[in-house]
Amino acid sequence: MFQRLLIANRGEIAMRVNRAAHELGIETVAIYSEADRASLHVRDADRAFCVGPGPVARSYLNIPNIISAALISGADAIHPGYGFLAENARFAEICADHGLTFVGPAPETIASMGDKATAKAIMAAAKVPTTPGTDILDSVTDALVAANRLGYPVMLKATAGGGGKGMREVRTPGELEHAFATAQAEAEANFKDGRLYMEKLIERPRHVEVQVIGDRFGNVVHVGERDCSVQKPSHQKLVEEAPAPRLDAKTRARLHDVALSAARAVKYGSAGTLEFLVSGDDVYFMEMNTRIQVEHPVTEMLYGVDLVKEQIRVAAGEKLSFEQERLVPHGHAIECRINAEEASNHFAPAAGTLTDVALPGGFGVRVDSHAYAGLAIPPFYDSLLAKIVTHGASRIEAIDRMDAALGDTWIAGVNTTVGICRTIMRDDAFRHGGVGIDFLPSLMTAAATPT
């Protein structure tokens, strides 16, 4: 096992990794930006290094300072968390070059899954169903031909993309030229890579993803699926749950099987997630995230396994500590992301200082948070303040528990998503289960429209 782990992240996920490491008897080294000097993840670690000023490019993406911090503190491994450097293949290589174990899959796996077209090709070869689509499009003319073949509506996507950037929905041939130009410009600006491809647009699908974890001996298991269909208009997830409600047993089993095949195809040796669009009985592979995800606690509560501890163990060369047969889901789990955001204003990030914080506890409630009264929220990072996860014997019990827990959540100083999450918990369509990714945008539109 590792002696000392540097955690190349901040906030709640840095705290999550720190806890897992401490439970395993591993010393921890935190990094922080000047803006995060007072963050809990700094307090919780055994040692901490400031690696740069607030903006991410100079701190949490500052590879030389991060690697140097690992080396001078005697760390033997680096956990990247999610975001930042978590899916940066070059960073994983640099770690290896300096004798540091990167807690994640092999750099080649990160690279191939990070390129959407490559990922899709690999998956198609492994007989994983993918959305009908194209290779890289050389021109608008190519795009028009392809759209005619696939049938409208279609989606233009940046091959290097993520987070909804460089994506455009195209419903008629007339819209295509403008959409192509703007998507290309956005992709160029965000990823310095303007290449686009096209996919058939699956309308009002559900977003269902499958958690997998493998070791370096070729063992790989799935840990069930999560339904992440409740997404903001920006396609960012807000509420996640497991198991996926109202999914027939055959489709569920197919998702699990397909995810396992995919993970085996790339000899996957860490924790990862395969994201699918589900429309009726059809499942389409979207992408694979080669990291621990924000919403991993949903799966942990459902299966009673510690994914982060296991991810560290397998990175240290240990065998998976559980077999597929021993992984049994119990009840239902739901996560709400409490963000410093103004839901009624297009979820705009809210800046400020937390003046009052009381997070819910009690039976069946898990909280992962770096929030405390007095914390000034830096404007440089994402707006997640807390993840509240509830577990219940049934889905409705988990929902009612979440509703009650949100009622006991007190955060003052900034606007948060507590209110909108509560609205969702009380929404009839959500309570019925099985909503698509159009659910939350429609709900927001309805709420904004005076009746």
């Binding site: 922080y32 000047e34 803006a35 000097r37 007072a38 963050s39 700094v42 307090r43 040692r47 901490a48 290094f49 400031c50 690696v51 740069g52 000023p53 607030g54 903006p55 991410v56 490019a57 100079r58 701190s59 500052n62 030389p64 300072n65 991060i66 690697i67 140097s68 911090a69 080396l71 001078i72 503190s73 300096h98 600006a189 965000n190 800046a351 007095g374 000034a376 830096p378 404007p379 440089f380």
Partner: protein
Amino acid sequence: MRSAAQFCASAGLTRFRIDEEELAIDVRRSPRPVSTATAVAGDDALGSAHSSNGAATAAERPSTVLKAEFVGIVRLSRPTVAEGTVLGEDRELAYVESLGIRNPVRSGGPGRISAVYVNDGEPVGYGQPLFAIEA
């Protein structure tokens, strides 16, 4: 953007730079960051994350704090300076060894060393005070 600037000001930072996405902004509170009269109580992030800093009182003194620009091991250059050492001109006081690269820390001109915050061979983080110099 304004919120970034406000945060920066409230955190007492002298300089920050955003160069993500379409923006490339470099904000400074003084034209020469290295010789800015900024007092820093020490890299106390671990021990006193909640302490208010004493910048207001110390800022009156015309002293410049040289801080580490890189994470690494600080090596004091020979001849080693100490509190009270008077420098006739710009010279290298130390270097921060980071990934095998020597990153020099220079006085930036003549002056008197009013404080040495680090020991030879000590690991330092970004922004950690190394020396204070009075003009």
